[in-house]
């Protein structure tokens, strides 16, 4: 059985029989004839007949990984931010931001490519670049660069700004679990004012099993 989390930029794949995980670019997937038995994600319906809602997959996947109890899991993807809060093995609260304030992962990757920089290798900033969303934040970045500010500092302030956005969106917790592509970005994780524990990129796949 082949499971897929078909995101905007990347597709996470699990071959259940082989217990093999794989990540490929979604654009490459779309050009291929790969089909999934079950899938979730923004482009899932293009590649599977059985599609599961992403937030439901996040809820199921996080319960499989963390068991019963009270916890908050936030998935920050290329395009959107979504979270689910569990209490006593029941869903308590959720939200999903896919438009205003979103496009975070995508913006970071775009900026990394543009400036040829790996943000995960940059020191965290003390000041946040007040950003409403990835797109509007980019205009501020280019303004700062034109003012002569050091690129790495500006990028770190930008990442702190989007971490602040996420923090406010999830109602300012003391601790949360992070899911999604930004789990690998230490700058992003360290830019939060609360404790963050990354769960990796395959949480939603666990929810499809």
């Amino acid at each position: 059985m082949l499971l897929g989390d078909v995101g905007t930029s990347y597709t996470k794949i699990l071959d259940v029989e082989k217990e093999e995980y794989k990540i490929i670019k979604t654009l490459d997937l779309l050009k291929s004839d790969v089909r999934f038995d079950i899938a979730c994600g923004h482009n899932a319906k293009l590649k599977a007949d059985r599609v599961v809602n992403e937030l439901v997959a996040l809820e199921k996947g996080s319960r499989k990984l963390l068991g019963e109890g009270n916890f908050l899991v936030v998935d920050v993807g290329s395009r959107d931010i979504k979270y689910v809060k569990m209490k006593d093995n029941k869903y308590e609260e959720m939200d999903w931001n896919a438009l205003c304030g979103a496009t975070l992962g995508f913006s970071i990757e775009l900026l990394e490519n543009h400036f040829s920089v790996k943000t995960s290798e940059i020191e965290k900033a003390s000041e946040s670049l007040g950003v409403t969303c990835g797109v509007l934040g980019m205009a501020k970045i280019f303004d700062k660069v034109s003012e002569g500010c050091e690129i790495n500092n500006v990028l770190a302030s930008f990442v702190k700004g989007i971490a602040e956005n996420v923090y406010r969106f999830i109602n300012g917790p003391e601790f949360f679990y992070l899911s999604g592509g930004l789990c690998n970005n230490s700058l992003f994780i360290n830019s939060f004012r609360c404790k963050v524990e990354p769960l990796g990129r395959f949480v939603l796949l666990e929810g499809l099993r």
């Binding site: 809602n53 992403e54 937030l55 439901v56 029941k90 869903y91 609260e93 959720m94």
Partner: protein, 242 residues
């Protein structure tokens, strides 16, 4: 006469024109082109208000009855003034101060949610037969105004009760803020507002207070909002089974 109406004008005004052809200008018809409104309005603006202007510019009307006070919205007040100055068709502006709440059987009926809204909107200008309506025990609530894009309503099951301004419409008290803010504490409810509408403040506040889902939609429904609502309905369904 072909009469365009906006909002919920007072009964006594509508009764004066009984028998005429009423058209609800708040509606997104197949022919409504909201971009037409951009000659008077900013591009980024409430889609329902844009529809009012676009419809008023497109449909050949003999009269417009525009309920433009706090029984509608501030945007409506400003837009009625623009239309008065720019159109040749006569415009009567009203403020609906009715306080007697009529029963709201449509809001709690077993009809599909879209059908509920069709009837609620129809009930503004004509008598709707409610005698055959059956009440349904709700699994969900929908709070808000009639959305610009009615396809949003198709995401909900029949077991959805209507709250917010739409309920005030059926109760014929569009200025009744207390009724507008009424929700059922135990009912998972989606709080909907049209993007760039001041009712977003109420929707966001009530959603937070009652652990509901706040949803803001600009113009037509997109896949992201659709998935978000579906997730909320599914997760609450899973909870109910536990």
């Amino acid at each position: 006469m072909k009469i365009g109406i906006v909002g919920v004008p007072p009964r006594e005004i509508l009764d004066k024109y009984k028998g005429n052809d009423f058209i609800d200008l708040d509606t997104l018809f197949d022919f409504t082109d909201n971009s037409k409104a951009e000659i008077y309005l900013p591009k980024i603006y409430c889609a329902t208000i844009k529809s009012i202007i676009a419809n008023a510019l497109t449909i050949k009307l003999d009269l417009i009855i525009f309920d433009n006070g706090y029984s509608k919205c501030d945007n409506g007040r400003f837009v009625s003034e623009i239309l008065k100055r720019e159109l040749t068709v006569p415009i009567i502006t009203t403020q609906n101060n009715a306080t007697r709440r009529h029963p709201q059987p449509i809001c709690e009926s077993d009809l599909e949610l879209r059908k509920k809204f069709d009837l609620i909107v129809d009930s503004v200008v004509k008598d709707v037969d409610k005698s055959e309506l059956k009440r349904v025990e709700p699994d969900y609530g929908f709070w808000g105004v009639p959305p610009n894009d009615f396809s949003l309503l198709d995401l909900f099951p029949k077991e959805t009760h209507v709250f917010g301004w739409a309920r005030c419409m059926e109760a014929k008290v569009p200025q009744d803020l207390e009724l507008e803010m009424m929700v059922r504490e135990d009912l998972p409810t989606v709080f909907y507002a049209q993007a760039f509408c001041s009712k977003n403040s109420l929707a966001k506040y009530l959603a937070k207070k009652h652990n509901g889902l706040y949803v803001e939609v600009d113009d037509v429904l997109d896949n992201s909002v659709k998935s978000k609502i579906e997730a909320y309905l599914l997760l609450n369904k899973i909870n109910k089974k536990k």
